[in-house]
Symmetry: C2
Subunit: 152 residues, 2 copies
């Protein structure tokens, strides 16, 4: 809907497991290349409850080979939801440019759906893809800085 | 670099035209599918000068058929700059959901490179893809609203 988020959806937990629901959702959102792998219980990372909606989002992170990632990117425009719920697929920059803003800091200034931003940060920290100190830094500065954003 | 922007670059105006430079840049950023069309002088929309860098950005908008757009999307992951300068390709939502936020308003809350946000809004208005009143509305609210963004 114009914000950044992760593929996911609701699961009837009496009928199927969370992982089964997630893997089906990945096919719809990312396309057929997602059938080359499946997300397993061991890849569960964290959960976030939303105060207002009483929704609990469970987050999984899957490590792909570069070939698998490229196959997903190549197939994504043919996914069922592409052009509808999904407007595109972007990689998360895991670097910070020398100006201290470009890269992950700038990426985190985008608008995210629900708890997607926090969920991402937590997973990046747990997977040790960013230094723990830098995550704290992003959290502290998660309010918007007018000097960066309010260009009129 | 984690922000949203348009494909483009610098042109040595003594050696080639702006349109020639742009069309070469589109090949690098969007991939070979961009060779199916070329952006012409008549598709020039507007120019924005940046105070600090003394760079003047000239913006062009090209109308594609759905087939051309889908070809660009399918070929984009094979573009030279994909995974480097370009982290992905997203469509701009030209609708507003019933909640008044989802769609274009939420999209415009993302972080943009340089004047990309203003350039986009101006072109959408000139091309009559959004109602003139709604653009004014986006401009007025272009400062960040803490209630929408500072989720910690």
């Amino acid at each position: 809907d114009g914000r950044l988020g992760f593929p996911g959806g609701f699961v009837n937990s009496q009928k199927r497991t969370l992982e089964d629901g997630l893997n089906r959702e990945l096919l719809t959102k990312l396309g057929e290349a997602a059938s080359a792998f499946s997300v397993e219980r061991t890849e569960y990372r964290n959960s976030h409850a939303e105060d207002t909606t009483h929704v609990v989002a469970h987050f999984y992170a899957k490590r792909l080979t570069l070939e698998q990632l490229e196959a997903v990117e190549a197939g994504a425009p043919k996914a069922k939801d592409h052009g509808l719920e999904v407007l595109g697929l972007v990689r998360v920059p895991l670097y910070t440019l020398r100006d201290g803003v470009g890269g992950l800091p700038a990426f985190l200034e985008n608008s995210f759906i629900g708890a997607a931003r926090e969920v991402l940060l937590e997973a990046l920290r747990d997977l040790e893809l960013v230094e723990p100190g830098s995550v704290l830094n992003f959290k502290r500065h998660s309010f918007r800085q007018p000097s960066l954003n309010s260009r009129t």
